[in-house]
């Protein structure tokens, strides 16, 4: 069972890390946009 849970947890961990990275990217880009407008 530990192998099964490890595989599922790793799958979700990778996807969630990727989603968080994208959200960080959006945050960074909108900050840059604000800086440009100033």
């Amino acid at each position: 069972m530990k192998f099964l849970y490890a595989a599922y947890l790793i799958t979700w961990a990778v996807i969630i890390i990727y989603i968080l990275t994208m959200l960080h990217g959006f945050q960074k880009v909108s900050q840059e946009m604000r800086d440009l407008e100033r």
Binding site: F3, L4, A7, Y8, V14, I15, M22
Partner: protein, 233 residues
């Protein structure tokens, strides 16, 4: 309108993923020989499919970009490549976790496993090439590299058909003895649909991010030109 469509798409994806998780862990029967570890199949194969789909989309977008030189297609290509790398990483991580209890080894250099690792390396190089080459025609170089990557993706798909590999032979479409129990097939198809939608959703979000990035870069360039007194056409 677009944000409403996105919200509906995201909610349907979330619902399907939850259903898929239930089917994979509880709904599907336990396989007689391998036991619970076989359930990794319900995540591993859909992730491999999303990887192939993303790389196929990257290939199409790269070809169109090379013909039209429209940055819109470049943004689509990078979005698909990144999602392809994410799912390729999952495939390379979940495969050995299944392999250890079933084969007794984490890894073997057979045609399927090696070509998948090579595919991952090609697309990581693709992303590094885009990120760290300063100026110059980097989207063009990256698009050319993507075409080689796609050839390897075809090889990855066909490897278990062309060679005798440690990796299992095709479960579907592999001849008279291929196929699975209908309840297993049901769990598999729900997860295939769920992960396909997740893949499309991630490519969609990443594409929007890349387009915004392109616009910011364009604004930076315009500002720099204005600063030097050069007028843009």
């Amino acid at each position: 309108m677009k944000s409403k469509l996105f919200l509906v798409f995201a909610l349907v994806t979330l619902g399907l993923l939850s259903w898929g998780l239930y089917e994979a862990l509880i709904g599907a029967p336990t396989e007689a020989t391998m036991g619970p570890v076989q359930r990794i199949f319900y995540y591993h194969v859909p992730c491999a499919w999303v990887m192939e789909m993303a790389i196929g989309l990257n290939f199409i977008a790269s070809i169109i970009f090379l013909i039209k030189r429209d940055l819109l297609w470049d943004a689509f290509a990078v979005a698909a490549a990144e999602v392809g790398v994410v799912f390729c990483s999952i495939v390379l991580l979940t495969g050995p976790i299944w392999g250890k209890p079933v084969w007794g080894i984490w890894w073997t250099w057979d045609a399927r496993l090696t070509s998948t690792l090579v595919l991952w390396l090609i697309y990581v190089s693709y992303l590094l090439l885009r990120k760290y080459s300063i100026g110059g025609p980097n989207p063009v170089l990256a698009a050319s590299l993507a075409i080689f990557g796609c050839i390897d993706a075809v090889f990855v798909f066909m490897a278990i058909r062309w060679f005798r590999t440690q990796h299992p032979q095709p479960v579907f479409g592999g001849g008279a003895n291929s196929g699975i129990d209908p309840r297993m097939l049901h769990a598999f198809l729900v997860n295939m649909a769920a992960f396909t939608m997740l893949g499309i959703l991630l490519i969609w979000v990443r594409y929007v991010l890349e387009r915004v990035k392109q616009k910011v870069e364009e604004a930076h360039a315009m500002k720099a030109l204005a600063g030097t007194g050069v007028r843009a056409r």
